[in-house]
């Protein structure tokens, strides 16, 4: 539950909603800006109860760099997975991997799980009830430890830096 009861509980979300609205109607007409702003204020107020506490972004620049890195990884991930599917002599080594989490809050864990699903040959399959580890299914694993270390270094540590410490 978000404690503050102001008119703008989540300013970032409101701005995003306004941008999305303006893109959807494809116009910068003042009327649409007013309507979009009204929606951007109303929707977060109505849906506020569904939101977890939003951790503050400590370092926006790192967030931007993280986003670009994930985008790059998505492209390489696609190349790899496509090659695995196409290559008739492939020897896939699928595996379930238990990934011990370093992150603690729900929001960041969600972010990490989404990132894992979008990047090289891994899908997050289940978050343990105690929130201590994620079950990952990987398409082709050579070394389990290496994969865990890679996720830890490339994704989890930046997320932790951005949001938690």
């Amino acid at each position: 539950m978000i404690a503050s009861r102001t008119w703008l509980p989540t300013p970032l979300l409101s701005v995003l909603l306004l941008i999305v609205w303006l893109l959807l109607v494809r116009s910068l007409h003042p009327g649409h800006i007013v309507l979009g702003s009204a929606l951007a204020i109303a929707i977060p107020l109505v849906t506020r109860r569904f939101w977890d506490v939003q951790p503050n972004v400590k370092r926006p620049w790192l967030l931007l760099r993280f986003g670009l890195r994930v985008l790059g990884d998505i492209i390489t991930a696609n190349m790899e997975v496509s090659w695995l599917i196409l290559n008739p002599w492939r020897r896939m080594r699928p595996a379930f991997i238990e990934y011990p989490l370093m992150l603690e809050s729900r929001f960041t864990i969600t972010l990490l799980a989404n990132t894992i699903s979008l990047t090289p040959g891994t899908v997050s399959a289940n978050l343990r009830m105690d929130g201590k580890s994620i079950l990952i299914h990987a398409l082709d694993v050579e070394d389990e430890e290496a994969l865990i270390a890679q996720i830890r270094e490339r994704y989890e540590r930046p997320i932790k830096e951005i949001y938690e410490c």
Binding site: R26, P94, N114, S117, L118, V123, L139
Partner: protein
């Protein structure tokens, strides 16, 4: 004039790449061995495939209409938000139903071990919604 030829080439490249990736994603869904592996095709290859097609669309309408139009970015945005969530839910459902996985799969998650299932769930320690 030459710039139009180059732009046509770029747009064609993105269209073909998009189509190819989407096709490969679907192909993977058709012929990989088990449920969990099939999940990988649609979540990744298709995301990039549709992304490329949308880039092509954006470029084309930019050239034709003469003004940049980034409305298509919204589709990519929504896709990037929804694809991992649906993949996660599907994988979770698969585990819950204890679907068979290929024999060569390494690792055996607790969810697929018969004796462990049905254990009382432990609530998340996070305070959450209070």
């Amino acid at each position: 004039m030459t710039q139009y030829v180059i732009l046509e080439g770029v747009i064609a490249f993105f269209l073909v790449a998009g189509g190819a990736f989407t096709f490969i994603g679907s192909l993977g869904m058709a012929h990989l061995r088990d449920f969990y592996m099939r999940l990988h095709g649609p979540t990744k290859a298709t995301t990039l495939g549709i992304g490329s097609m949308l880039i092509a669309s954006m470029l084309y309408f930019w050239v034709v209409d003469g003004k940049p139009d980034i409305q298509e970015m919204l589709i990519t945005l929504f896709l990037f938000i929804t694809a991992p969530v649906s993949a996660h839910l599907l994988a979770k459902t698969g585990l819950h139903l204890q679907l068979r996985h290929a024999d060569k799969t390494l690792g055996m998650p607790v969810e697929l071990r018969k004796e462990e299932v049905g254990e009382k769930p432990v609530p998340h320690p996070d305070k959450g919604h209070g």
